[in-house]
């Protein structure tokens, strides 16, 4: 007890696992590692027990390929937890392990240097700056050169990093719709910190979320509308942590409460809904179906991670691609895949460009609003910014 920052958590998890092995069977990464939740916790404790120094501990862990696979190959999709007969939260264990991996220098810097979303520049803020995407007029609770900070808002809108960067028009249209319902609204164009968490910067992710809550409190907003179920989960936890009196609601829930009518007709193609692994209790899926007037039992629904979770792409890019392909294979030929989380939309769009299929890929907000996401342009802009006049700057910033 001592070398690992999170050893208390490993003791706790070791004690909660029955070692039945059902979690292993539910996850490709755990199958590859041939480990259960308990095995992971015990392996970490053993690595600590047999080490006299941090350097020895690092070597012990690095030499345990199964352990590295289990910890770095996790999408945080909760499939293991869902399958665990005791509902043990394996993801929580992995988050803790990532913290220790990060502390021990076991996660290479080049895999996370561009996603430090609590710093001035990350991949999203850089993309937005280079391509002139800004929302200074919508972040009304913030003091800017253009306008002083306002307060007393009814609601705050949280589009999340991906939507704000890759769908600025859609972001604005949603904001204007909220405002159109007569609610005074401001926008938080910050991040929930999930990429920090995946990289093992657990405390920094919590600090970022807590800072978001402080901003919310200052804005006076009593409701936070989240587009993405993952952002909603993290912000809910932060609000509880900060003991703030703010309700987190999903965008579909908000729209339902206002009697919103979708601006688009449903696509002619069959719908196939990807239930985001972050949509833990399925409310985004159900509320979206209700908004679209679709019986939840009608469309094909596939569950699980799109492959973007847990920064697995930085560890095993083939697995990420395989995961996305596998999920898309559930979609019937010619159908429209509807995603709940904008990062899922991004992941599937990228995959469909790399390996085209006869599928249409839409975020649920694209079915509700007129603005659409131009992925071809986004990928072009994402790629080109590394080679244009900002290329050198980016390489230096994210070195």
């Amino acid at each position: 007890m001592g070398l690992l920052e999170r050893s208390d958590a490993y003791w706790r998890f070791a004690g909660q696992c029955t070692q039945c092995g059902h979690c292993t069977k539910a996850c490709d990464s755990l199958v590859k590692a041939d480990m259960t939740l308990g095995d992971i916790a015990h392996a970490l404790l053993e690595a600590e027990r047999t080490a006299d120094s941090a350097d020895e501990l690092r070597k012990n862990i690095a030499m345990n390929g199964q352990l590295v696979q289990a910890v770095r190959g996790c999408f945080f999709c909760t499939q293991c937890k869902n399958t665990c007969f005791a509902h043990n939260d394996v993801c929580d264990l992995i988050y803790n392990a990532r913290v220790d991996f990060q502390n021990l220098g076991l996660i290479p810097r080049d895999t996370w240097s561009s996603v430090l979303v609590d710093e001035e520049w990350d991949i999203f803020t850089a993309y937005r700056a280079i391509h002139g995407i800004g929302f200074a007029d919508l972040t009304r609770h913030v003091d800017t050169d253009y306008a002083p900070a306002e307060t007393g808002f009814d609601v705050a809108f949280f589009p999340g990093c991906s939507l704000a960067a890759y769908a600025p028009q859609l972001t604005r249209e949603i904001f204007e719709t909220i405002e159109g319902f007569g609610d005074s609204v401001t926008m938080l164009d910050s991040c929930c910190g999930s990429s920090l968490r995946s990289a093992g910067f657990f405390d920094r992710a919590e600090t970022l979320c807590d800072k978001n809550v402080q901003e919310l409190v200052q804005s006076g907003a009593k409701k936070l509308i989240c587009v993405c179920p993952g952002c909603a989960n993290d912000m809910r936890k932060a609000i509880i942590r900060c003991a703030a009196d703010i309700e987190v609601i999903s965008l579909p829930q908000y729209l339902l409460s206002k009697g919103f009518v979708p601006k688009n007709a449903l696509p002619d193609t069959p719908l196939c809904i990807s239930k985001s692994c972050q949509d833990r209790d399925g409310t985004y899926l159900e509320q979206t179906c209700e908004l679209l007037g679709v019986d939840p039992s009608t469309p094909t629904i596939f569950h699980g991670c799109c492959g973007a979770g847990g920064a697995v792409s930085a560890f095993d890019p083939d697995r990420q691609a395989h995961q996305a392909d596998e999920k898309l294979s559930f979609a019937p030929e010619g159908s429209t895949v509807v995603t709940m989380c904008p990062t899922c939309t991004y992941t599937y769009a990228f995959r469909l460009m790399s390996a085209p299929r006869n599928l249409t890929n839409k975020h649920y907000a694209e079915l509700l609003f007129e603005s659409q996401i131009d992925w071809e342009m986004n990928f072009y802009q994402l790629n080109s910014m590394w080679y244009g006049e900002y290329g050198q700057w980016l390489a230096e910033v994210f070195a």
Binding site: Q16, T18, Q19, C20, F85, A86, S297, G304
Partner: protein
Amino acid sequence: MSESMASKREPVVAIIGYGTGGVNAAIALRTSGYQGTITVFSNVDTLPYSPILTSYYASGEKTLEQCFPWSAEELAELSLDVHSNAEVLKLDVANHAISTAEGTFPYTKCVIATGSTPMCYGFPKVEGKGGYEPIVLRTLENAERLKGVLNDDSCERVLVSGASMVALKTLEACLNRGKRVTLVGMNPHVLDFNALPESAERFERGLLGYGVELRLGQTISAVKRIQRQETARNGRDWQLEVTFSNGDVDYFDEISVSHGMKSNLDFVEPGSLEIDRALVVDEYMRTSDPDVYAAGDVVQALELISGQKRIVGIWKNAAVQGACAGKAIAAELAGKEPSPEDAYKGSISMNTIAVKDILFISSGTMEITPNRTLEIREDDDMTVLYIFEEAEEGDRRLVGFNLVCDHSEEGSPAYDTGAMLTLRIESKAATKPA
């Protein structure tokens, strides 16, 4: 505290029981900074093992080594003074003393985590030469016996009496080893108390599909050990003649019985601690005596749907409750109040069982009261029963569900649905005033 044996010495925390509740109490004590003596009384001489895995071990799915969640090296780190084969005979609450055959041991604080024992209520005395003790399943010793039966080619037919989770896992172990299985249960359906008839029926259809003979609504009236009528099979020259409550007679090679569980509290003197169906505890797992704590199958703790104190005897609860007790004791011995953050938050009843690829998941309550409604959704793969409760403000909330899936494997959508519904129940239950 009365004039106790322990009060004159350094603090001693005694843990009665060396299972998940006891070990997690010890872990929490150490990780909370308690450095004093921890004395553990175990009625066996093995490392702590997982009773959940006994059926897996018996059927060969797990090795013996895999049944022990903690290694000797890990446990050594906890610096425990373990008394093996030391069954506790008496807990003297007034004098802070524990008696075993070895002698009497003082304690400052005590954790009771002795688990439960499967019962054979109603199983008749077996007549005939040689007699017969039915198979039960809880301990490693029990599992060794079942393993022997499953490996015994002369055993072809097994009667499983009882329809609970333990009975069904025994049944699965038998199926996995090619035995012909008959299940007899006094209730009209399997999955006692956890399933509503509509979901139990689907589960039963799945069992029938695997060739299981079901005798539901029946009990065993008589069992007689007799000489085999035909030639002895692989050396087995006896069999069990079973008479059922409806008058039917059939013949089996072995009988497994799971007729409920009983908390192991024989060493607690009547009246010394508040016992309802088990030890009644507060949010820090304290019993009615402030120096005695308890965890696992021996406690009635907060159940969130009912707001009442109930036994929810599952492994994770034992682990969490043991940890709560350990943290609270560590705080008290350090002269502090236990932190509300470390209090037991309560649980909901939840069960998952898979027999071959037939999956059953339940969470929350199965009680249909006047303010609750039942909704059933059924398709080719799955039946889901939802129990909704009308809330005062006009909302309705999910308070329980049953899910049965005929063809599920780990990671399939059925598990995801089960987890999703459990989360909904938990999130609402946690906010409901008790």
